[in-house]
Subunit: 205 residues, 2 copies
Amino acid sequence: VNIPSKLLENAVEQIASLPGIGKKTALRLVLHLLERSPQDIHKFSDSFTQLKALINHCKVCGNLSDFEVCAICSDNRRDQSLICVVEDIRDVMAIEQTQQYKGLYHVLGGIISPMDGIGPTDLNIENLLQRVASGSAKEVIIAIKATMEGETTSFYLYRKLEPYVVSISTLSRGLAVGDELEYTDEVTLGRSILQRQPFDKSLSR
Amino acid sequence: VNIPSKLLENAVEQIASLPGIGKKTALRLVLHLLERSPQDIHKFSDSFTQLKALINHCKVCGNLSDFEVCAICSDNRRDQSLICVVEDIRDVMAIEQTQQYKGLYHVLGGIISPMDGIGPTDLNIENLLQRVASGSAKEVIIAIKATMEGETTSFYLYRKLEPYVVSISTLSRGLAVGDELEYTDEVTLGRSILQRQPFDKSLSR
């Protein structure tokens, strides 16, 4: 696509630099944006520069926060003996959404990914070890996605946490709620048989 | 999704205000953006405010342009006797891409759409009539999409242009190149039979 305006092309290239957005979609979005008032476009633009300038990483757990210490870490009603280690803020939001967890979090800011040049030292791991060494944590839950890179990261964390007096757990793997056996992949199904649970009447509907 | 940061939520809402982008995608895009340097984020943001502040509508054809008169209107080698009326800059780009057209354009800036509250007076139509009345145009090609609203707009333009000494044409409708007859909708197939063309050896491959 050959855009006959440098100004337009520049804006389109910026939008198209976001992952998963092609140049045609970007052009459609920019033309849509251009129909707004100058004030609205300033609001749009400022939201990103403000975010970058003012956002904090919680100095306890590393999660994104408007404050030095995030709302979860500063909430005394939460169980200080549990730390759930996750990749990023989206996982925190997903777990909070379940309303099943009342402990604290530790946000790594990514996972180990040699392909993307991300090693252990690029992640918020050293802080986790200090937190476990000096804090009141009794259990660390490693809640990282079940992909190859996720499993590598989980195993790396397990090895690093092993020396500490803390129990280490991971999310259970198994049949997703609502899934059929015949469409579940064999590794997951195998794990869900090996790690079968005592039948719990209160969970069946 | 309940985002635990006002700064983050604000940026996510701005991105999610673009058409076709949901809140989850917006969050993914904003987190991606947040990993860039402050300089890069300023470049990102500035591209939109600069575009809005500095872009022109060509005073001849109404197309978006970095200049008062766009590159096409100010190109003397183009055929001044032909005006192709289109909806927006994307249609100009699509037709230019074909390299089959050497005339000028007239960009309406939309089509008549009562559902969206867009009437004839919201479009760049008055300028077109003045251009036809005072200029050197011999033919106006109405090149507007073949949807119901597009056809309404085409017919409206036809009625407005009828009084002038100018021939009025539209894009041919018919089988798309590469398409099979059995999968072509009946209206298109019917039109392509009614408007059948003398066989042209030079176009067959």
